[in-house]
């Protein structure tokens, strides 16, 4: 991740959504983007040039455009027609964004267009946010295996650097009768049951209220 004077930035042509520029880099505002907020709060999160990303809930493509600045390719899934229009405009200018007009609760409808990815990013604010993430686990690369796996034990534990899934949990969209904390612990429990290893969790205060980020890796199954 590139930081200039403590600000998160991304390399790429500006003018996507009137974002500020600093020294030729696009400023990535943590108050607008949940992923930027997570990167501000957790410095171990990284996007690398070889990464392939499946981004669920691309909306109008602002965060997607920043991710695309860092990685090889972003598969950006969005369902609602209005934001989809904006997303297409962003994707036209960035050749490593593959826009997918699809409903994230029905991955079977667009599965044939996807490939294995290194990062699965779930930002669809639906009641079943964990379920949507779990449905997309088949697209996440398995942790490195096969003959060329001779790396140390830290790899086996699925530490940072391996295939990662990030859930941006909007607790208010899950169930308004439960407190954010209850929703959060329930969600973590569900992800564990689905065989995910929880690497890290954090609330996105002060940037976004009642939002939590859950960073997971894939288990040994």
């Amino acid at each position: 991740m590139i930081r200039i004077d403590g600000q998160l930035v991304s390399p790429g042509a500006g003018g996507v959504y009137n974002e500020r520029m600093v020294k030729g880099y696009r400023v990535w505002d943590p108050f607008r983007s949940k992923l930027a907020a997570l990167c501000m709060l957790d410095e171990t999160i990284d996007l690398t040039p070889s990464m392939r990303v499946l981004y669920l809930g691309a909306a109008n493509g602002t965060t997607v455009s920043h991710v695309a600045d860092y990685v090889e390719v972003v598969y950006a899934v969005e369902f609602a027609p209005r934001p989809l229009r904006d997303l297409l405009v962003v994707a036209e200018k960035r050749e490593n964004i593959v826009p997918i007009a699809g409903d994230a609760t029905r991955p079977d409808r667009y599965a044939p267009f996807l490939e294995e990815v290194d990062l699965l990013y779930q930002d669809v604010a639906q009641p079943d946010q964990a379920g949507i993430l779990i449905k997309h686990l088949p697209f996440l690369k398995r942790a490195t295996s096969g003959p060329d796996e001779v790396s140390g034990p830290e790899q086996v534990s699925g530490g940072a650097g391996g295939p990662t899934a990030i859930l941006m949990l909007k607790t208010r969209s899950v169930d308004i009768r439960m407190t954010p904390e209850e929703v959060f612990s329930g969600t973590v429990e569900r992800l564990r049951e689905a065989g995910l290893l929880i690497h890290k969790t954090c609330w996105l205060e002060p940037y976004h209220h009642d939002h939590a980020a859950i960073v997971c890796g894939i288990g040994d199954r």
């Binding site: 989809l84 007009a101 599965a111 996807l114 088949p138 009768r177």
Partner: protein, 289 residues
């Protein structure tokens, strides 16, 4: 296993698929994917297929297909007969808001030019006061009043248009609650498809979201009616049966919306039965009271 650029048979042999973006899209959409057994494309598969000289070309071709797909999805989203009606209702409601706000302001303004004027006893729409305001000495105020009258006329015309279009697009729902209310319910639901897939209980409280969520959260009394209260059979019903009428009417609207969505033609038999039942619920207990 089917992929957009080819398929893998049971022996693991990749068979490439060629064609225009549209043909590739159709080929994939005609097959169903079982997520339980699915394994996604891998870089090895893509490169071994021999169809694409490099990654760049793969992504370029895939993007062609996906842009084409997105264009079709977008075209479909606005092709529904309800799309324009939806915008018209929302415009109408916003015009009401704007007219009300401006009217209040213009009346305040008029009070300055005519201190003895009081609105007491002049209840009703701005229309009653406007002729008076237009005779004021203040030229700017007269200009504003003229504009306001123009807006009110446009509003009336739009309401008639909404009603007429609703009668064609959602004939059954319109027949039950009138075109205007029917169109408002549909707009609030987010379109005819959404309304048609809603249970009657949701239709009943559309437009009463604040009351509904406060009911769910802190247990205040549940709302009996939202937008459907605007229909005379609900708001004219006696208090004791109003909830019952609202519930029955909402259930019938839910059915009517499905007929509108799937058939799009008035169903006389359904309408006769539904109207009869609703009138019975509204009037039936009149006799008992």
């Amino acid at each position: 296993m089917e992929y957009w650029c080819g398929s893998v048979d049971s022996e693991g042999v990749f068979r490439p698929r060629e064609g225009t973006p549209h043909e590739l899209l159709l080929a994939v959409q005609s097959t169903e994917t079982d997520m339980q057994a699915f394994s996604p494309l891998t870089e090895d598969l893509i490169m071994q297929s021999g169809v694409f000289p490099d990654r760049k070309e793969y992504i370029r071709r895939l993007r062609e297909v996906m842009f084409h797909h997105a264009a079709l999805v977008l075209a479909d989203a606005v092709s529904g007969r309800d799309a324009e009606l939806l915008q018209m209702v929302r415009t109408l409601d916003q015009m009401d808001e704007a007219i009300n706000l401006l009217s209040e302001r213009v009346i305040e303004w008029y009070l300055v030019t005519n201190p003895s004027f009081s609105q007491k006893g002049r209840k009703g729409s701005i229309k009653r006061v406007l002729p008076r305001i237009r005779r004021t000495r203040s030229r700017p105020l007269r200009g504003m009043a003229d504009q306001l009258e123009g807006l009110a006329a446009a509003r009336t015309a739009l309401a008639a248009d909404v009603s007429r279009l609703a009668g064609r697009v959602i004939p059954n729902t319109s027949e039950l609650v009138g075109g205007l209310v029917a169109a408002r319910i549909m707009a609030r639901a987010g379109g005819l498809r959404k309304l048609a897939s809603m249970p009657g209980s949701s239709v009943q409280v559309i437009g009463a979201e604040a009351a509904l969520f406060s009911h769910i959260r802190i247990g205040s009394p549940s709302p009996k009616h939202g937008i459907i209260f605007q229909h005379r059979r609900v708001h004219n019903a006696q208090k004791g049966v109003r909830g019952r009428v609202a519930r029955l009417l909402a259930a019938k609207i839910a059915i009517a919306a499905r007929i509108d969505f799937f058939r799009g033609e008035p169903d006389e038999a359904f309408l006769r039965d539904a109207n009869g039942r609703i009138d019975l619920a509204a009037g039936g207990s009149h006799d008992q009271n």
